[in-house]
Amino acid sequence: MTWQPRLRLALLIVAVVVLQTTVFSSGLRVFGVTPDLGLLLTIAVACALGSERGAAFGFVAGLAVDLFLSTPLGVSALTFALVGYGAGIAQSGVLRPSRWATPMMGALGGLAGGVLFVGIAAVAGWEALLSLASVRVIVIASLYDALLAIAVFPIARWATRTPQGGDRTWLRSSTVQP
């Protein structure tokens, strides 16, 4: 990958962290729930670059988000990495392109991310998160993620584009060439 997409992705991580910790942490909550912008961006990047780079991006983005949470450092990083890996696989082999593919990826990724986050945090000692209240939060957050995915996916596509534009598959390091 050339330096321009890397720089754009790094700036996007900073922007996501700032927005998540300010605008979305207080004002833009819906029914008391905030979307997971870092997770959404990870899913979008994984769809553009593949599972391996999606996982790596998710790890870095998750670490940045973890610095602002009271849960242990690494919980979001692991969650985002696993969701990014899964989203890359799903995009390349399972989901068919359609107008609903983007919000569906946002919703499914949000659901998977929420469940993984609660599960990993519970194993790390935050077992109080295993509650019905968490289920409500995960469902609302995933719907919010589905809505915002419509805006986040084009941004991720812009950030991951090559200097020549067009096909991004060359960025994937694990390609099979017959």
Binding site: V18, T21, T22, G27, L28, F59, S70, L82, A124, T175
Partner: protein
């Protein structure tokens, strides 16, 4: 001849998982460098955050109004009824406040006036969905430190868990990870009040089943030696008691005195040198 160029994906995923698990383990065990890094990152981001909050506050207020319109109507009617009742109680309350001030002076409670406290505005909520915290606009440069109790005039809010130069993160008592040693004021029995998220109540564990706890009983901090909370800070009133025969403890729910949905200003209590 067909040539396959393929790198193995799994080692990278395994490396990420192992690194994340190592970080989680280090942080759970209380690694100092991780707290330092967190504080440093907050110092960089906080000025940008402050500017963004001012810009987006009206948008947030509008969304809050739309999503809670029906709840606001109910609350409005309820508040009108309460206002009528409150007018009648006002005169009696004035006398009680004066009496209370005098008693506090006599007893020299840490929660009373004169305690070394730092007033702080609440500037942000929690960045995630699975924690109940607020950001306050005072930090290490103002003398705020970790584990300091945070209160309002109504009672206990929580404790400081993270400090940067100009800001601090407060874990509210209704966070599921929060635990506060408490004492029932009437019976003197003790327990640990645990948060239950947005349910509006706290659950008190380890309450002796042989003690008769009554609804409406005032619950305050116990102030054990290892606790960051001094004794006597009001926490709430008992809202529900369930006793099951044969159980080793009784289920006690407490309604907090502090309205966590409308926190604007709080006070951070600095421990006295003797503590």
């Amino acid at each position: 001849m067909v040539a396959y160029q393929r790198t193995n994906r799994r080692p990278i995923l395994v490396l990420i998982v192992v690194t994340a698990v190592a970080l989680i383990t280090l942080d759970v065990r209380g690694s100092g460098p991780i707290s330092t890094v967190r504080g440093g990152v907050h110092d960089v981001i906080d000025p940008v955050a402050g500017a963004l909050e001012a810009v987006f506050a009206p948008v947030g207020d509008w969304i809050d109004g739309v999503t809670s319109a029906s709840a606001l109507k109910d609350e409005n009617a309820r508040l009108r009824r309460r206002l009528d009742a409150a007018r009648g109680q006002r005169a009696a309350a004035r006398a009680a406040i004066e009496e209370n001030k005098e008693l506090k002076k006599l007893l020299n409670l840490p929660f009373a006036e004169g305690t070394d406290a730092i007033a702080a505005p609440v500037v942000d909520g929690a960045p995630g969905n699975f924690e109940v915290t607020v950001q306050i606009g005072r930090g290490a440069s103002d003398g705020v430190g970790t584990d300091m109790p945070v209160v309002t005039g109504a009672g206990l809010v929580g404790r400081v868990i993270e400090v940067s130069r100009d800001r601090a993160t407060v874990l509210l008592v209704n966070d599921p990870q929060s635990g506060v040693g408490v004492k029932m004021e009437r019976t003197g029995t003790t327990g640990v009040a645990k948060g239950r998220g947005d349910t509006g109540t706290l659950r008190v564990d380890y309450v002796d089943p042989n003690v008769e706890v009554r609804e409406g009983e005032v619950v305050s901090t116990w102030g054990q030696q290892a606790s960051p909370f001094p004794a006597g800070i009001p926490l709430g009133t008992v809202s529900k008691v369930t006793r099951t025969r044969g159980d080793l403890e009784q289920d006690v729910l407490v309604k907090p005195l502090v309205d966590f949905s409308h926190l604007d200003y709080v006070k951070v209590l600095r421990p006295s040198p003797g503590r």
